[in-house]
C-alpha cells in the first residue's frame, strides 16, 4: 500500500490551510458562476425551453395527448426515409473525412521544421473558415456549374457538362462534405495543432532518442495523447452534421428545386411545420428523434473518447 500514505497526507493538508484557500476558491467559484451564467441563461431560454416545448408538441395534437401518433405519422411520411439516408450518408462521409484529414494535416503541419512554412500552411487552412456558411454555398454554386466554373475542366473529367448533372442527388453527400471541409476543417486543424503542441517536449524528445520514426511517434504517442481532442471534434461534427439545413436549402433554390425542399431531416421538420401541412406536432416529433439520435451519438463518442475523464 505505498500509495495510501501520500493520499492521507494530501487529505490532511487542505484541512489545515482551510480558511485562506477557501476564500480564494469561493471568489473563483463566484467568478465562474458569473461567467457561465450568461451562457446558461441563453441555453435555458433558447435551447432547453424550446426543447421542452417541442417535447410537449410531439406528444400532443391541439393540446390533447395523442401518444406516439405524431411519431408514427412523421416516420410514415414518404419523405422521411430518404431524408434519413441523405443525412446518414453525409454524416458518415463528413465525419470520417474530417477526422482523418484534419488530424493528418495537423500532424504534418506540426512536423514542419520550417517556421514560415508551418504558419503559412495554418493561415491558408484557416482562410475559407472566414466565410459564413451561406456565403460559401453561394461560392460553390459557381464552382459546381460547368458553364461558369473556373475549374470546369475538373468537372468535365468527371463527365459533368451541366449544373443539373453536377448536383445529382447521389453526389450531394460528397459535395456537402467538400463544402463543409473547405470551410470548417481549417479551424479544426488549428485546434489539433494546438493539441499536438501541448504534448510535452520531453516525451517527444524521448521518442526521438529511442529512434521512433515520425509515423510511429504519431501513432503511438501523439494520437493517444490528443484522443480527447479528436473525440471532441467528432462530437461537435456529428451534432452539426445532423442539423444539415442551410446548404441543401440554398442549393434547392439555386437549382430550381432539383434538390427537394425536404432533403435533410432538419429541412423536413421545417417543411412539415411551415409547408402546406402546417403540422407543428409531427415537425416536433422529427426534431425530437433527431435530438435523441444526435445526443446518443454524442454520448457514445464522449464515453469512448474519454472526454470527461480526468488526467
Amino acid at each position: 500500500m505505498p500509495t495510501a500514505a501520500p493520499t492521507k497526507k494530501r487529505q490532511w493538508a487542505p484541512l489545515r490551510l482551510r480558511r485562506r484557500p477557501r476564500t480564494g476558491a469561493n471568489a473563483q467559484a463566484f467568478a465562474a458562476y458569473v461567467f457561465s451564467s450568461g451562457y446558461v441563461l441563453l441555453l435555458l431560454v433558447f435551447g432547453v425551453l424550446p426543447m421542452v416545448y417541442a417535447l410537449y408538441l410531439s406528444f400532443t395534437k391541439s393540446g390533447q395527448f395523442v401518444g406516439l401518433d405524431n411519431y408514427v405519422k412523421a416516420v410514415g411520411d414518404f419523405r422521411f426515409l430518404p431524408a434519413v439516408q441523405h443525412v446518414a450518408a453525409f454524416l458518415v462521409i463528413w465525419v470520417v473525412t474530417l477526422t482523418v484529414l484534419a488530424t493528418l494535416l495537423a500532424l504534418i503541419v506540426h512536423a514542419m521544421r520550417v517556421r514560415w512554412l508551418s504558419s503559412t500552411a495554418r493561415f491558408l487552412f484557416f482562410i475559407p473558415g472566414a466565410f459564413a456558411g451561406a456565403a460559401s454555398v453561394m461560392l460553390w454554386l459557381f464552382l459546381l456549374n460547368p458553364s461558369v466554373s473556373p475549374v470546369s475542366f475538373v468537372l468535365k473529367w468527371f463527365g459533368y457538362t451541366n449544373f443539373v448533372q453536377a448536383i445529382d442527388l447521389n453526389n450531394l453527400p460528397l459535395i456537402f462534405t467538400v463544402i463543409a471541409f473547405w470551410t470548417g476543417a481549417g479551424a479544426w486543424i488549428i485546434i489539433m495543432y494546438a493539441a499536438l503542441h501541448n504534448i510535452s517536449n520531453e516525451i517527444m524528445e524521448a521518442a526521438r532518442c529511442d529512434g521512433a520514426s515520425a509515423i510511429k511517434t504519431a501513432w503511438y504517442i501523439q494520437l493517444p495523447l490528443i484522443r480527447k481532442w479528436i473525440a471532441y471534434m467528432v462530437v461537435i461534427s456529428v451534432a452539426v452534421g445532423t442539423q444539415l439545413f442551410a446548404e441543401p436549402k440554398i442549393l434547392a433554390q439555386a437549382s430550381r428545386n432539383q434538390i427537394p425542399k425536404h432533403y435533410s431531416l432538419n429541412q423536413l421538420a421545417y417543411v412539415t411545420a411551415f409547408g402546406p401541412q402546417a403540422d407543428f406536432n409531427s415537425s416536433a416529433a422529427i426534431s425530437m428523434m433527431l435530438l435523441v439520435v444526435a445526443a446518443g451519438l454524442a454520448a457514445f463518442f464522449v464515453f469512448r473518447g474519454g472526454l470527461f475523464d480526468r488526467d
Partner: protein
C-alpha cells in the same frame, strides 16, 4: 467551427429572432386599435372621417363582414406586406389615401416555393397576434391554406365578397381570374395579375427563314422538324424550368396529370392530351429544337440569345425576357405574341404561370381601409403603370394592353391585345391550380435530371406520377391514378 455549426443554429436563431421581432413590431402596431378602440370609437365617429365600406359596427365581433372580426377602428393604421416590386404601388396608395394610415413592410413573397408567406403566418398563428392587415403573395395557391382554419386559428384570409369590397367591384375581374381564391363560393383574395401562356415569336427570324407562326401543337412540332433540318442551332422553346415544361406545356396541352375535385387528386398520364404532349416534348428535345437550359441561367443567355425562334410562355415574358437586355433583349418590332397553341380541332385552353394575389387579413381592425387598399392596388389610377405583367382586373388589363399596343415594341401591334385577351379568357380550368402542393418539384427532381443524363420523359412517367401521388397523400388527398 464548421460551416454547419455556424449556419444551422444561426439560421434557426435568425428565424426565431425574426419571428419574435415581427411579433413584437406587429403587436405594437396591432395593439393600437384595440387599446384605443374603447375610448376612440365614439371619438372617431364624431370626427366624421368619411370612410367607404360598411363600418360603424365597432365593438361588435361578427356579422358585418360575414366572419368574426375584432373591434373595428376606421382610423387604425394598417400594415401591408409587400415584395420589392409591389412597394411602389403601396407608396402610391399612401399618397392618394391619407385617411388610411399605412405601414409598409417588405418581405420575400416571391413565387418559386419560398413559402415565406405561409411560414410567417403560421408563426403568427402560433403567437396569436401580430398579423399584417394585407399581404402580397407571388404564389397562386395560397388560398389552399389561407382560406382555411389552421391549427385552430381563424383562417388568415378574409372573405372579401361579404362587405370588405363591393360585389359590383369583384364583378369587374377578368372571368376566371379569381378561381384560385374562390373557396366554397367565397372570394378570399384580390388578384393582381394574370399570366396566360401565348406563343412568343421572333418576327425578324420568321421573316428571314420564311416560316409561318404555328397556331396548333401539331404545326409547332412540324416547324420543329423543319428548323432542325434547315436551321439547326435555333430553338422553339425550353423545358429546363418546371414552369416552362409543366405550367406552360403540360397545362396548355390540357394534360390532366394534376387535377383536383374536392378532396380527390387525380393524375392521368394515359389521357391522350398527356401522352401527345410528352411525345411532342421528347421528339423536339431529341431534335434539339427544345433546350434543357433554364431561362434564368447563365447558359440560356450565352447560348441562345438571338437563337430563339419562338417560345411558348406567359405574359410576364414581356418584361423578363424580351424587354430585358440581360436576357434575350429585343428591338422594337422584333418580337410578337402569337395565339396560344392548342391541339388541332380542339378549343384553346392555355396554361398560366403565376400571377400574384393580395390577401386581406380576417384579424384586421380596419377592414374598411383594407377594402379600399385592395381596390386601389388592383384597379386604382396608378395600377396600369405600376402592375408588372398583365393586370387581372379587366379595365386595368384593357388599359395596360392599350399601352403595350401603342408602345410600338410589339411586332403585331394590331393583334397583340386580342391575342393576349383571348389567352387570358381561355385558361384551361382543369389544372389543379388550387392544390396546396406544387406541380413543379416532381419535374425538377425527377424528369429534368433524367433528361440531363440522356433519358426520355416517357421513361420517367411512373416516377413522375408517383412523386405527385406522394405529395397528394401527405396532404390528405384521396388519390386516383390512370
Amino acid at each position: 467551427m464548421s460551416l454547419h455549426e455556424r449556419s444551422a443554429p444561426r439560421r434557426l436563431m435568425g428565424v426565431s429572432a425574426a419571428a419574435a421581432c415581427i411579433a413584437l413590431v406587429a403587436a405594437a402596431c396591432g395593439n393600437n386599435p384595440s387599446t384605443s378602440s374603447p375610448s376612440g370609437t365614439p371619438g372617431s365617429a364624431g370626427s366624421g372621417t368619411p370612410t367607404s365600406g360598411p363600418t360603424g359596427s365597432a365593438g361588435s365581433s361578427t356579422g358585418t363582414y360575414g366572419f368574426p372580426t375584432v373591434a373595428q377602428d376606421p382610423t387604425a393604421k394598417i400594415t401591408v406586406w409587400v415584395d420589392a416590386d409591389r412597394s411602389a404601388i403601396a407608396e402610391a396608395f399612401q399618397k392618394d389615401h391619407p385617411e388610411c394610415p399605412l405601414s409598409i413592410e417588405t418581405y420575400d413573397a416571391s413565387a418559386g416555393g419560398s413559402d415565406t408567406f405561409h411560414t410567417k403566418i403560421s408563426l403568427l398563428d402560433q403567437a396569436g397576434s401580430g398579423w399584417p392587415d394585407v399581404a402580397w403573395s407571388g404564389q397562386v395557391n395560397d388560398a389552399s391554406w389561407a382560406a382555411h382554419e389552421q391549427n385552430g386559428v381563424q383562417a388568415f384570409a378574409a372573405p372579401l365578397d361579404q362587405g370588405v369590397v363591393p360585389q359590383s367591384w369583384l364583378d369587374g375581374y377578368t372571368p376566371g381570374a379569381l378561381d384560385p381564391v374562390t373557396v366554397d363560393g367565397h372570394v378570399y383574395g384580390a388578384r393582381d395579375n394574370l399570366a396566360p401562356v401565348v406563343l412568343w415569336y421572333n418576327k425578324t427570324l420568321f421573316d428571314k427563314f420564311g416560316y409561318t407562326v404555328p397556331t396548333t401543337w401539331e404545326e409547332y412540332q412540324a416547324l420543329g422538324d423543319k428548323v432542325a433540318a434547315e436551321h439547326p442551332g435555333y430553338i422553339l422553346g425550353s423545358i429546363g424550368d418546371p414552369f416552362t415544361a409543366v405550367l406552360t406545356d403540360m397545362w396548355a396541352a390540357q394534360a390532366p396529370i394534376y387535377t383536383v375535385d374536392g378532396t380527390t387528386f387525380t393524375s392521368d398520364f394515359s389521357d391522350n392530351h398527356t401522352t401527345r404532349m410528352i411525345a411532342l416534348l421528347d421528339h423536339m428535345f431529341a431534335n434539339k429544337t427544345l433546350t434543357i437550359d433554364g431561362l434564368f441561367t447563365p447558359d440560356w443567355v450565352s447560348k441562345w440569345k438571338g437563337k430563339v425562334l419562338a417560345i411558348p410562355g406567359p405574359t410576364w415574358f414581356t418584361g423578363a425576357l424580351f424587354q430585358n437586355k440581360d436576357n434575350l433583349g429585343g428591338q422594337p418590332g422584333e418580337w410578337g405574341a402569337g395565339h396560344a397553341l392548342h391541339w388541332a380541332g380542339e378549343p384553346i385552353g392555355t396554361g398560366n404561370v403565376g400571377g400574384g394575389f393580395w390577401y386581406g387579413s380576417s384579424h384586421s381592425a380596419n377592414l374598411a381601409c383594407v377594402g379600399t387598399y385592395l381596390q386601389y392596388v388592383t384597379s386604382g389610377p396608378q395600377s396600369v403603370k405600376l402592375i408588372t405583367g398583365l393586370p387581372a382586373y379587366a379595365s386595368t388589363a384593357s388599359a395596360w394592353l392599350d399601352a403595350q399596343t401603342s408602345s410600338g415594341f410589339w411586332a403585331n401591334s394590331d393583334t397583340f391585345k386580342d391575342v393576349v385577351d383571348e389567352a387570358a379568357n381561355n385558361i384551361w380550368k382543369g389544372w389543379g391550380a388550387t392544390l396546396p402542393f406544387s406541380a413543379e418539384p416532381p419535374w425538377a427532381e425527377i424528369v429534368n435530371p433524367a433528361l440531363a443524363s440522356g433519358k426520355t420523359i416517357a421513361s420517367q412517367v411512373s416516377a413522375w406520377q408517383q412523386r405527385m401521388v406522394n405529395d397528394a397523400q401527405v396532404n390528405g388527398f384521396t388519390v386516383v391514378t390512370k
